[in-house]
Symmetry: D2
Subunit: 361 residues, 4 copies
Amino acid sequence: MKKKSRFLQTPVEPFQVEGGLTADAVLSRMERISFQGRNLATARRIWLKMLEDDVTIFLGMAGALSAGGLRLIVAHLIANRYVDCLVSTGANLYHDLHETRGQRHFIGSPLADDAALAEDRIDRVYDTYASEEEFITNDIWISDFAATLEHRPYTTREFLHQLGGHLWNTTKRDGILTAAYRAQVPIFCPAIADSSIGMGLSQARQKIPTAGHIDIIGDIVESANMIIRRPRTASVVLGGGTPKNFINQASVQAEFYSPDVSGHRYALQIVTDVPHFGGASGSSLEEAQSWGKLATDSARVSVQADATIALPLLASALATSAPAVLARRKVPVFTLASRDMTIDGQIVSRDRFEEMNESAV
Amino acid sequence: MKKKSRFLQTPVEPFQVEGGLTADAVLSRMERISFQGRNLATARRIWLKMLEDDVTIFLGMAGALSAGGLRLIVAHLIANRYVDCLVSTGANLYHDLHETRGQRHFIGSPLADDAALAEDRIDRVYDTYASEEEFITNDIWISDFAATLEHRPYTTREFLHQLGGHLWNTTKRDGILTAAYRAQVPIFCPAIADSSIGMGLSQARQKIPTAGHIDIIGDIVESANMIIRRPRTASVVLGGGTPKNFINQASVQAEFYSPDVSGHRYALQIVTDVPHFGGASGSSLEEAQSWGKLATDSARVSVQADATIALPLLASALATSAPAVLARRKVPVFTLASRDMTIDGQIVSRDRFEEMNESAV
Amino acid sequence: MKKKSRFLQTPVEPFQVEGGLTADAVLSRMERISFQGRNLATARRIWLKMLEDDVTIFLGMAGALSAGGLRLIVAHLIANRYVDCLVSTGANLYHDLHETRGQRHFIGSPLADDAALAEDRIDRVYDTYASEEEFITNDIWISDFAATLEHRPYTTREFLHQLGGHLWNTTKRDGILTAAYRAQVPIFCPAIADSSIGMGLSQARQKIPTAGHIDIIGDIVESANMIIRRPRTASVVLGGGTPKNFINQASVQAEFYSPDVSGHRYALQIVTDVPHFGGASGSSLEEAQSWGKLATDSARVSVQADATIALPLLASALATSAPAVLARRKVPVFTLASRDMTIDGQIVSRDRFEEMNESAV
Amino acid sequence: MKKKSRFLQTPVEPFQVEGGLTADAVLSRMERISFQGRNLATARRIWLKMLEDDVTIFLGMAGALSAGGLRLIVAHLIANRYVDCLVSTGANLYHDLHETRGQRHFIGSPLADDAALAEDRIDRVYDTYASEEEFITNDIWISDFAATLEHRPYTTREFLHQLGGHLWNTTKRDGILTAAYRAQVPIFCPAIADSSIGMGLSQARQKIPTAGHIDIIGDIVESANMIIRRPRTASVVLGGGTPKNFINQASVQAEFYSPDVSGHRYALQIVTDVPHFGGASGSSLEEAQSWGKLATDSARVSVQADATIALPLLASALATSAPAVLARRKVPVFTLASRDMTIDGQIVSRDRFEEMNESAV
């Protein structure tokens, strides 16, 4: 009898339907099917591995996930330290703040009459609506708060921690910003100028000309120093955008100053963009290796799926299977209240990169 | 205080993570989030409505779902009469037959060296492999069986029922073809000539020149007559392709001969194609109304997702919430063994359309 | 100085804008840019290579290209023998016939009110409209013609040649079917049952019960025999679907019977589907090598683009640069009027595969 | 005879192939076809309308367009004032600087072995390569330059103008940065922190702790003030991302302070993202109306295409048909060398929004 090909090792195991299966069991059965289903099941396995290893886990978040109903999942991931640092678009933090302040997004239709919406001052995000007037109250709330800060540039990390604290103190409600504040998890927002949070900051200058200053370059230094201080890292990316690149850039920048850094050890992305148009959002994790963004022996998986399907399933599954691992997880400890953050007791400078030479290591 | 806009009625309800949630509970919590997550949750609700109503449910199936590990889900949907009639590509039925005959598909990599695979005669479907030699044994098995049939054209519906019976008698294993055979559920395969089942049929002629004749036009007549006989229908489509259009065409053709037919009452599609390039696979359910494929007051939802993620979750959820509805469901009863099928005791001709004039109705 | 990496050979040459550039010059300048622009430029180069080589060129056509305004490009490609054999969906041939019969498609909007369209009996294809009443006259025209044919099964190749002839004799207008008739270029339509042409054929049975018989399995035999008779082939695919697979299947089936056949030598596809969901429409040309659909040393390129952008540009460019090559091109010569077609004077059987054993070759 | 439906007004006009057609003629013939081809032809027509009207035209640029060979097209659009203000990702400006400094990107393969590339320190962007060592020289060049600037925060607009000037003085080569410098066209880069230009700025602090300060919030104020000063605007977007939103945000922010502002009058986007996942990159221009980003009576078109195909064709066409319109175009006149820019002789503050009350208008 002919010898079997080396390529034919592990059979596909058709998914068996059963009543009462948990999300965790569903994903577990999807490990041996194909295409994006298998990839999503692999994402669960890789995330569990990250949690078992001693790595700093970055979470990147782009797309309208907060408006779309995923903000409490992200808050849950932060509060339970599935992740250690959030990098987000401004919109996701703004829509989170909108709801934490007690306002809502609303179920809408993608086929709506936008002229009629405009007349009612309703803003549409695909199939979701929000009140422009309520948005304006947010802008004012943010600019009022920004006007109370010291008259010096803040990194987005420092500003967002302060903002989260103010939000928690005002509302005592759960959300991304408040969860990160309470769990002492840093948030970076590299494109804050391209968001309503940035708009709120800009409006603070109308009151106090020296207000609303952000040290966006300081964020680059801080994020790289975090990795120089703790070189083993992992990346979880939802939706591409600036967060995906910023997380990778931090590792590349850190590697420039420290020989200990050599790319993320784990990478998991849930994206809808594709690689073949050349954009960073859809770029493959293989390509990331060429840049040194990922270690060439990293565990990695890319899932082509809308996060509004993939994340509820994945987070529900992890909530069943991860608690034991989380309980014994060794997390980085941050202090975030001052101008300079610390990680595991060490200062993380915003002003200059820590230079680790070979001998120091 | 300003009156609230009529557009702001139902708030988005952020998804709350919890350990131990069933697939059904996950989808239930996704009903009030946004984007494709909400659509998938709506799909569950619409499918339940179909099952409660008195409609013939068509299932369309395109893409490499059988090779990709979803064939036992489809078999489960047939066996438990979530659906009443399957329209499939030939490949899905062929890959089902491959596994029912005891062979396997295998876990592979999309980054494989295809020249090396070709040398080993391994066929790749994205991240899944199969043995070409085993495929050839299937072709021979099909052509041997086709050579035993009467020397006259068979509709794909008749041929596939006979093939399913032969497969069941030979293997006693579960699969799509065998489940449909045992549940007396008809299968149509309008593009059978574009598949390895068609290739097997063509090879039968090498043995017996008058073998391997398929009456593909008879399938059009039969499928329309099914709807003329039982005008209330629903459509569940996985992946677009010829099955999607064939199910719609059957309704349009039936309407031509019977005033009782007026488009599907329910429509649910899980597709990855998009509308804006004009192709039928990605076409919207709204567009389908213009053609009369869907009733203008139909309940409908389109989910943009890979079926390998969406279907395991959806089918697992339904397995929890649907059994009671299924138990009292009034299904159409078919006989499929003869040249002419019957539905609820009435002949479904392959030779001419039943003409229902107004008075007869 | 450090030696340059072997990977850095050919610089990207930024596109230089200039007034008055021809389509051909534009594509020529796109050869050294990146992403899908480069791929489209490569497509022009590969098509020119096909025309210079002695290969049978198959053109596959899926998506609503005829309704979308590309039918005269396809007719031009056929009439000038850029291609030697067309494999099409039924819809593209039907919409071609619609216009050749003197009717039109109309500019519409993707945001149309489909209920209003349905009331006016206007069928929508994304942003394009057509009159359902005119469509019904086509169906009748086709069924009237089908009823005049001999009472025996026709391959789609034979039927479509006859239909093209009848259309030419009736209208004397250019189109895909008439161009193929006049240029003696065969057309296959493997999914004819999933189209309005199939519906027209089915309606012929209402007049004459023995009419409207299609020998779809004969198409498989014929298409493979074409390749057995002339083993060097090339594939140009627009939009995936059944035509893409049918063209590949013909080669795989031919290889089964002849050692001379070893996959297409050239392959060019313009698709909007992507590989990562596992469907055949979006499958990569690399994957096709594992199946033997393509020779492992084939010249090939996949362009991710809407054909309504890519094809006008590509065909306009070729109309400038290809005429000299076309003039000296050695094309296969077909006769198509009888039950059995011929290629270069040899019978192409629909009933059994030509078996070429090693010694015969 | 039945009256024709009001929906059937303008027939689709099939594209007629002809040798020697210019890009302009090709796009002109595409106006009456369907799908994305029609949309691209409409983009040409709308851009011409913008040029004829008295509007400030913003160009947004995301995706790897500079690395991909489109930087000289963008430089051409700036130099010839097809556009008046550029909003870009940092990567596009960085890759532009890379080439203007005399270095190159290289033709590569998407199927490359990324571990081998990593070993050679070659960075891959889909099918395009660049040398990491050369990139490092850019970083140093940028940080050296940044260290020479005044020790105060610069808006990206001011910094990039200075950078462009330095680049022009050093190289005398054409590119995006140098063309914008010479044409006195402002460039904003809201996500500069998420790019290698940001990395270069951060490295400047290693030399001079007070260097590398960017006033990203000042960019928000400046961009809105530009629109307050000149309220009629248009938006051309390539690839979505932060530039798309920033251009829209500027209009929304301006409207907050001036009743004269009411959304862009014209909008044209060439994107590959889709609306149905909720992300801003793929969001529809209809949705933008609900936000007031676009005037509800704006002329607008969205083209779903890779810019590497669409832009060479579109820019080549415009280079043929636009010169006369460009010659009589009334452009906004900027001065950009100082801390405060001017538009048409008026100061554009970075510190506070110009407030236009009703009476002042």
